[in-house]
Subunit: 104 residues, 4 copies
Amino acid sequence: MSESVAQDQIQSYFARWQRLEDEKANIGEDLKELFKEAKGQGFDAKVLRKVFRDKIADHAELAEFEALYELYSTALGTPLARARDARDPANENFGTVPITGTVS
Amino acid sequence: MSESVAQDQIQSYFARWQRLEDEKANIGEDLKELFKEAKGQGFDAKVLRKVFRDKIADHAELAEFEALYELYSTALGTPLARARDARDPANENFGTVPITGTVS
Amino acid sequence: MSESVAQDQIQSYFARWQRLEDEKANIGEDLKELFKEAKGQGFDAKVLRKVFRDKIADHAELAEFEALYELYSTALGTPLARARDARDPANENFGTVPITGTVS
Amino acid sequence: MSESVAQDQIQSYFARWQRLEDEKANIGEDLKELFKEAKGQGFDAKVLRKVFRDKIADHAELAEFEALYELYSTALGTPLARARDARDPANENFGTVPITGTVS
């Protein structure tokens, strides 16, 4: 190809790239704003993001991860595993999560 | 400072840096080897790494994360939350996750 | 806030988040496609991306980085510094880097 | 394998992992300290790190990257390409890099 063609091409690619990067940056700002708003209403942004990601993830895979996590962490004696099991099966009001006393 | 001093300094910093980077690379290899071995014995490396990280993390923080995670995912209707509740005999929505006693 | 309000809020945040993540994923695909096309026409995608990033970066900062880079790499005896100096006809150490006029 | 064997294994892997992660963290601290010292002596840590990395990188690859970078950035009209070419070939004192006036 001739040099002038390459120059046109590179400038065309750059224009496309810049537009896409601008849009990406705008979306990044919108996402930041979303979590800022949620935080302003009392949500924990980090947990919320993880819940959102897991919501659209492969749930069979997540359940498998979770099952192995419990198995390994119990074998290793991780307090978190015990914290999860501390949930009283009789408790049906989930708004009050009973993480009581057993985490050390 | 004179230029020759700067040259000695920069070469001395480089020698220190290179030694540290070599050590870091060796440790990286050892960690890779560790998880490869574990995988060879039937462990899931990704889950194992997360369990190890959580074991040395701040457990109060993890329990707080976990509690909020359950709260939000229940509000959002994430199946994973229900998967966890499958241990509750009253919950019949999700079946039973087979957390049996052996690895692999 | 009541629990049902929180549930509405979290589902509203999730809907917004999902839409934004979808748009972000589409842009990511468009960027991948752009560099794939450029590669198909003989461009090196990695170099192209760096040139594009530098084009919109702070040029005074880049020039400062470049000047210090040359200074340090010369002090350390990095061949690359000599490669750059190959354009200087007096420098015969490194041969001539073939920057000829056409791409590909 | 029996559960108790898995428990021993997981605890053994964890002990190895923890030791390696501790060493890695120490090296990370040493590297941080190195660049902090260099900064204290007037070096720009970011540039220094890049010079060190390039020193141990594949130099033929770097020279190829550099050649294409110049070609593309010239085609795109990036000021940095002009800044590099602004170097007066008659100037032989490299300690004073002449990045003068042409960056806009």
